[in-house]
């Protein structure tokens, strides 16, 4: 049951090329930590380091491949013979809108009103191939074209807005900005509002909890502890 403390594994090095320059880095690092190991200090191209923020879009190819691959530097292990570069910034246009003015009932296709270039999609599927989140990008663009806001919102939900889709798109569609708008419209106009929440907000505004809250705020610690320890806990819902 004890693992071999594999010193040899630790010392195993791979060769990578950062914008053409060759470095030897330990196998098992991510592209991000390999760049740091090699001596790069990030200002751009590094954000959450956990796959949520889209700051570290990377384009690379490997020695025996002609194809360009795209991924997140913080979530991809280095491979021997990797040629890579990070994309620090994506100058994509984004349309401003007023969330109160985009009721889909009042527009023919509200997404197209703001992002008409969506209609230029040639269904090449390059966006989908570029997506590090494996989102069906082209499918949601097609859904947007049909005016299906719900499907656009749901298919695009895991988008981290790294912009790789839009860099690759031959029709210059700004997928991720359009999808952001779709999700907000869907949440605001298609999803029913919560009665429970509305009721609670009203109770608070009427001051229904004020008296008891004041009691708690001024309660001496021992009494408060007792109240905490005695509260019932709902384990199953």
């Amino acid at each position: 049951m004890t693992p071999d403390k594999d010193e040899d594994n630790k010392e195993e090095m791979v060769e990578i090329f950062v914008m053409g320059k060759r470095y030897e880095v330990p196998k098992g690092l991510t592209i991000m930590t390999a760049l740091e190991y090699a001596g790069y200090k990030f200002t751009r191209g590094c954000g959450c380091r956990g796959g949520f923020c889209g700051a570290c879009s990377t384009v690379y190819r490997t020695e025996d491949e002609y194809k360009l691959k795209m991924d997140l530097a913080c979530q991809t292990a280095v491979e021997d013979g990797m040629f890579l570069v990070q994309l620090p910034f994506m100058p994509a246009v984004r349309e401003a809108y007023d969330i109160e003015e985009v009721d889909p009932e009042e527009h023919d296709n509200v997404l197209l009103d703001y992002y008409p270039e969506v209609a230029r999609c040639v269904s090449c599927n390059t966006c989908t191939k570029a997506c590090p989140q494996d989102i069906e990008v082209m499918d949601y663009v097609q859904a947007a074209l049909r005016g299906d806001i719900e499907r656009t919102a749901e298919l695009s939900f895991d988008c981290i807005q790294c912009g790789l889709c839009s860099i690759r798109c031959p029709a210059d569609i700004k997928h991720y900005h359009m999808a952001q708008m779709a999700r907000r419209i869907h949440a605001k106009y298609n999803q029913p509002e919560s009665d429970e929440l509305a009721k609670r907000v009203e109770e608070i505004e009427k001051g229904e909890y004020d008296e008891e809250m004041e009691k708690l705020v001024n309660m001496e610690k021992e009494k408060l502890k007792k109240r905490y320890d005695e509260r019932d806990i709902k384990e199953e819902g």
Binding site: M1, T2, P3, G28, L29, T30, T33, E36, Y37, A38, G39, Y40, K41, F42, T43, C46, G47, C48, R49, G50, G51, F52, C53, A55, Q75, A77, R94, Y97, I99, Q133, D134, F157, D158, I160, Q180, R183, R184, H186, A187, K188, Y189, Q191, P192, E193, S194, D195, E196, L197, V201, I204, M213, L216, V217, K225, Y228, D229, R231, I233, K234, G237
Partner: protein, 550 residues
């Protein structure tokens, strides 16, 4: 790419699988206060005195902080005030917001609601707008909106979770504002998980007595943050990215009057004068307290804590650090990354190398974390990884046994994706976890309106302390930045309307330098840190300190 688990770990997984059906419906009782004290005292990193130090200068002299934090507070400023020309003002605004994460963006939006023209606001942020821990939060946000729940219960849970060390007025604000915050999110169009009738899908969290956790898959933080950014862009709030504040500015009346900013790429400084300043820089995970790995984003280096403290704001509860019970422990590439508490909310149990369930899965975070550390290092029941660290299993496949096939994919897409990249299918196999540095419980002292002891300075989010006392519950940090970002924004706006500034000064930095030398502190450290150092040792040894000119 590393693929799956080595054989010796697979052997332990077999034991986990063998015990699964008999554990399935068992939930160990939550610890009583004495049991909790015992495990905390013996195993929680906060309860080790060696890792801490008394702060020797400034408004909270004598209070304790982790050594790594104290060293940042007892360091020299990055700037020499005599080299700064304050007569040329580059930005002149009503409200300056330092930090473009959740708290800062919420503050900006509410300052506009309160009547400040977006043009008279500036968000200055170190990395990109939205680069923050807010973006990474997975589990959800606590709001007591159900019939069987109430702000009163939420208050009790939060204050008990914080071991009754929280500032009561702040907890009141947190729990009473929560429904209003969610109502605002509904208006903005955030895609929360809902039932067919429109009411929210809710789960329990560690230390909560009701189902109160609202989420958007396991991308809750991202969904909130990207929507807030979208709205800030829609109303054209100016943002300077890659432009951190390096010190606060004051005026000759003793008010905070903006900040000195620095272009992170050219190192040029800018004078940003502001009638109100909101500190919203987040926490300190990248200081790696007690050498723990962290879930935090790249810029979490306690900058606002340092700047606020130098400007005269006391700090509190800095001696308590939140270690999230479940950080990834294997594979090596993702060590320390967050495994959201939602995995346990959905039914996964922590089990040891022999497949035994050893703790209630939903204790408050400090207790749960201490119990995991005890299992690994007190009892030696952990699983050792190929790189030599220990962890326990989080039995994720149990979720689907309990709630049906597809539950994990639907509720935890980010987690599934994280593990899939390294050849592990968490719907089939358990995942190995160990506590990881997650959250700064304490911070700058604030009042319930988001103001601080220094006029003109407000704070919201992880940089401030008191809301959570010495331990924060799951789902209260997204709530914190919304509640106190909002309060700070509103009150910064009204302060700005009723204030006039005097002559700008950096005298407080000179005074702080004097205090350092009077206290006999000799250090070559400078702060704020801005960015952590991860470059390879070999490279740094050969690093030439030359400026290359064109």
């Amino acid at each position: 790419m590393s693929e799956g688990y080595p054989d010796y770990m697979e052997e332990s997984i077999k034991k986990v699988e063998e015990t699964r059906s008999e554990r399935m419906d068992k939930t160990p009782d939550r610890m009583d206060p004495d049991q909790a004290d015992e495990v905390l005292n013996n195993f929680h990193p906060d309860y080790r005195e060696e890792g801490k130090k008394e702060i020797e200068i400034g408004p909270s002299t004598g209070r304790k902080a982790p050594t790594e934090v104290a060293e940042m507070l007892e360091a020299h400023s990055l700037i020499d005030p005599s080299e700064i020309d304050l007569s040329q003002v580059d930005y002149d605004v009503d409200v300056l917001i330092v930090g473009g994460g959740g708290a800062g963006t919420v503050a900006a939006l509410w300052a506009v609601e309160e009547g400040i023209d977006p043009e008279d606001i500036l968000i200055a942020t170190k990395l990109r707008h939205g680069d923050s821990n807010s973006m990474m939060a997975q589990g959800g946000i606590q709001v007591a909106d159900r019939e069987d729940d109430s702000p009163i219960r939420h208050y009790l849970d939060a204050i008990g979770g914080g071991h009754f060390t929280n500032e009561q007025e702040l907890v009141k604000a947190l729990t009473m504002d929560a429904p209003k915050v969610l109502d605002w999110h509904e208006e903005l169009g955030m895609m929360y998980d809902r039932e067919d009738d429109g009411n929210f899908t809710e789960l329990p969290g560690g230390g909560t007595s009701r189902y109160r956790l609202h989420s958007a898959g396991d991308y809750t933080g991202m969904e909130l943050m990207r929507t807030l950014i979208d709205e800030a862009r829609n109303i054209d709030i100016p943002v300077q990215e890659f432009t951190p504040a390096v010190e606060l500015l004051k005026d000759d009346k003793g008010q905070v009057a903006g900040a000195l900013l620095m272009n992170l790429e050219t190192n040029e400084y800018y004078v940003a004068r502001a009638k109100s300043t909101v500190m919203a820089t987040g926490g300190f995970g990248r200081l790696h307290i007690q050498s723990y790995p962290t879930t935090n984003h790249y810029g979490a280096t306690a900058d606002g804590l340092v700047m606020g403290y130098r400007a005269g704001v006391p700090i509190r509860d800095m001696d308590s650090v939140q270690y999230h019970p479940t950080g990834a422990a294997h594979p090596d590439q993702i060590v320390g990354l967050l495994v959201t508490e939602k995995v346990r909310s959905l039914g996964a149990q922590p089990v040891n190398k022999d497949g035994e369930l050893f703790v209630n899965p939903l204790e408050p975070r400090d207790i749960e974390a201490a119990a995991l550390i005890r299992e690994c290092y007190g009892e030696d029941n952990g699983v050792k990884t190929p790189t030599g660290m220990k962890g326990v299993w989080l039995d994720s496949p149990l979720i689907e046994e309990k709630k049906g096939e597809g539950t994990i994919e639907e509720n935890l897409p980010a987690m599934v994706r994280l593990y899939e990249r390294f050849g592990i299918d968490m719907t089939e196999k358990p995942i190995l976890v160990f506590p990881t540095l997650h959250y700064q419980n304490g911070g700058l002292e604030i009042n319930a309106d988001g103001s601080t002891a220094v006029p003109g300075l407000f704070a919201g989010g992880e940089v401030e302390g008191g809301v959570h006392g010495k331990n924060r519950l799951m789902g209260n940090s997204l709530l914190d930045y919304n509640v106190f970002g909002r309060r700070a924004g509103i009150n910064a706006a009204s302060h700005a309307k009723n204030t006039s500034l005097g002559e700008l000064t950096l005298d407080h930095i000179r005074k702080y330098e004097n205090q350092l030398s009077e206290a006999g502190i000799e250090t070559d450290k400078k702060s704020p840190m801005l960015l952590p150092e991860y470059r390879g040792e070999e490279v740094l040894k050969r690093h030439l300190d030359v400026e290359v000119t064109l």
